[in-house]
């Protein structure tokens, strides 16, 4: 009798837990559902009120926002993509190279270098944005994409993840063996180490791409020309425009365009991404 009661309580608890989980799932998905619904509706429909069903203006909204004379949306997408992709490439390659040199070589300043990188890892770039922007001015790099791409070469966080991965997946004996075969150090890295690092590189490339794609603060201080603007800057511009006069179908469509590419990447690679989140922070 008591056992039966306990089982019933446990079943009830479990049902309650599922209810909470479903509720949280709905809260997470609801804003995106509203976004997708409104991206398919015409301005006049959106003004009339809320609807749970999709409209038929998806392609019209898409065409309107891409043709918009005040907002170079297509250029924004291309700029954002090129900057994010180059940053991901540079960050992963050079972080792996830096981690390789710390992991493999017997460097005198090894501990010191490692400590410096760990210490600067958490310093946000906002706190030196002033010096950054003025120094880019001195170098003649204002209104250029270079200050948004090149700093990726020194990405302490990516380096830290790469080093953690190497410590558990790259035996030093393998390097020794390759040296015996007469391979040069640079070739060992490019042809032997990089392939081993592929899973770590893939995960970190995604994180760097997403971080750069979403980045707003520094680009908004560097970029001036309309043709060089990235998506977050265009969204901020839309926000400061006279909002009520704007075609709401286009507003939702621009948000849709900024969010959806990342969501598509996520849907396909979520397994690896979710697994990659905890690596490094939690030592196994």
């Amino acid at each position: 009798m008591r056992i039966e009661q306990e089982i019933r309580i446990r079943k009830f608890n479990k049902a309650l837990i599922y209810l909470v989980l479903i509720l949280l799932t709905l809260i997470c998905l609801f804003p995106f559902y509203l976004l997708i619904v409104n991206a398919t509706r015409a301005h006049s429909e959106i003004q009339k009120g809320f609807s749970a069903t999709f409209g038929s203006f998806f392609w019209t909204n898409l065409k309107n926002v891409l043709d918009n004379k005040q907002l170079p949306v297509l250029r924004g997408i291309v700029n954002s993509f090129l900057i994010a992709a180059s940053s991901a490439l540079l960050a992963t390659y050079f972080s792996a190279l830096t981690a390789f040199s710390i992991h493999v070589y017997d460097l005198k300043l090894k501990q010191f270098i490692f400590s410096v990188i760990l210490l600067i890892m958490m310093i946000p770039n906002q706190v030196y944005a002033l010096g950054f922007v003025r120094w880019m001015g001195t170098l003649g790099l204002m209104d250029s994409h270079i200050p948004l791409i090149l700093p990726a070469v020194s990405s302490p966080v990516v380096f830290y993840f790469m080093l953690s991965y190497m410590q558990s997946n790259l035996p030093l004996a393998m390097i020794e063996a390759a040296r015996m075969d007469g391979a040069s150090e640079f070739r060992i890295f490019n042809q032997m180490v990089l392939p081993i690092m592929k899973p770590a590189i893939a995960v970190q490339a995604i994180f760097t791409f997403v971080g750069s794609w979403n980045n707003y603060f520094i680009p908004s201080l560097i970029i001036r020309t309309a043709d060089k603007k990235t998506l977050p800057i265009l969204i901020a511009q839309l926000r400061s425009a006279d909002y009520l006069k704007f075609d709401m179908g286009q507003v939702y469509m621009l948000i849709f365009l900024a969010i959806i590419p990342i969501l598509i990447i996520y849907i396909f690679l979520s397994k690896y991404i979710v697994r990659g989140v905890a690596v490094g922070a939690v030592k196994e």
Binding site: K14, L21, L24, T25, C28, L29, P31, L34, Q47, G49, F50, F94, T98, I102, Y105, D106, L107, L119, I120, M121, M122, I123, P124, Q126, Y128, A129, L130, G131, F132, V133, R134, W135, P147, L150, V153, S154, E185, W213, N214, Y216, F217, L231, P232, R239, S240, Y243, M248, V251, Y252, I255, I259, I262, L263, S270, I273, V274, A278, A281, V282, E284
Partner: protein
């Protein structure tokens, strides 16, 4: 002897490659981080701003910028705003994440579809904060869908963006949604790492679920909790995209949602380089102290 010599020479020549491979990282670090950092500190000691169209300074004034920003500006107010909004988002974030992590990793509960839930709750973390904020601005505006739903349900419409609590609440809600999945996954990884035998031993000793949690689970995941709290505080100091877009840079009614970085951003735009420098250095000191805790936390485990 000869052989030994050759060997040591050889290892030196390998080390040479190690330094060469480090070079790109440190050259870029010096150009894009170290020089900007040093010059930011340098600028903080100079009077340097625009008065109308005339440039004032640069003139060395020692610590005067610090005095001005700490005593004569609205900095305390913006620090308080930032802290309040961060706390409003972080308390539910850490509590819900802790509960979810325990649920997901519990063998006794053996929940189904945990991968699906984890995938969904982590998703907002990858969303562009600026776009997310613009979306909330549109959804919660006076004529937006949320107010439409409120009216349809027979409630009064609520001007979220004209009220202090509405603005702060929305920013905290967005911060919560953007980050609680990430925190859940981090805590979960730590909980999964706890040795089952310790938990079993506690249970054999007669500890109930609550006692096991307080005396076994919580101490075991302490390092990751410290990591989550400190990195989130650093993230809180950086809070910018969400409130900037939601309030169009104005910080809502009576600047009640103006954050520290929004204030810095305003100084940068109006070319108040001296005050911007002093503010930057203050934020640098705050984040460095917090970083030091994370650093000790990360190296302790080695």
């Amino acid at each position: 002897m000869k052989k030994l010599c050759r060997q040591s020479r050889k290892s030196i020549s390998y080390a040479k490659w190690g330094y060469i491979f480090l070079l790109p990282f440190f050259v870029v670090f010096i150009i894009f981080t170290l020089i900007p950092l040093a010059s930011t500190i340098y600028y903080s000691f100079f009077e340097n701003y625009m008065s109308g169209l005339t440039q004032i300074g640069p003139k060395f004034i020692g610590l005067d910028n610090y005095r001005k920003i700490l005593l004569e500006s609205d900095l305390p107010k913006y620090a308080w705003n930032t802290f309040l909004i961060w706390t409003l988002g972080f308390i539910p974030q850490i509590l819900i994440s802790l509960v979810l992590a325990l649920w997901f990793s519990s063998k006794r509960l053996d929940l189904k579809f945990t991968r699906f839930y984890k995938t969904v709750i982590y998703m907002p973390n990858l969303i562009m904060a600026a776009a997310f904020s613009m979306l909330f601005f549109a959804l919660f505006s006076d004529v937006g869908p949320v107010n439409n739903i409120l009216i349809a349900l027979g409630h009064q419409p609520f001007s979220f963006l004209q009220s202090v609590s509405g603005n702060r609440g929305l920013i905290a809600l967005m911060n919560f949604l953007l980050w609680f999945g990430n925190t859940t996954i981090l805590i979960m990884a730590a909980v999964m790492g706890i040795d089952d035998s310790i938990i079993e031993a506690a249970q054999i000793d007669g500890a109930g679920p609550w006692k096991t949690f307080i005396h076994v689970t919580l101490p075991s995941i302490r390092p990751i909790l410290v990591y989550v709290i400190i990195t989130s505080m650093i993230g809180g100091i950086q809070m910018f995209d969400v409130p900037q877009i939601l309030t169009n840079g104005r910080g809502g009614p009576n600047r009640s949602s103006m954050t520290l970085i929004m204030y810095l951003n305003n100084h940068l735009y109006s070319k108040n380089y001296g005050l911007a420098g002093a503010l930057s250095v203050i934020l640098l000191i705050a984040t460095s102290l917090l970083s030091l805790i994370v650093y000790r936390n990360l190296t302790e485990k080695e």
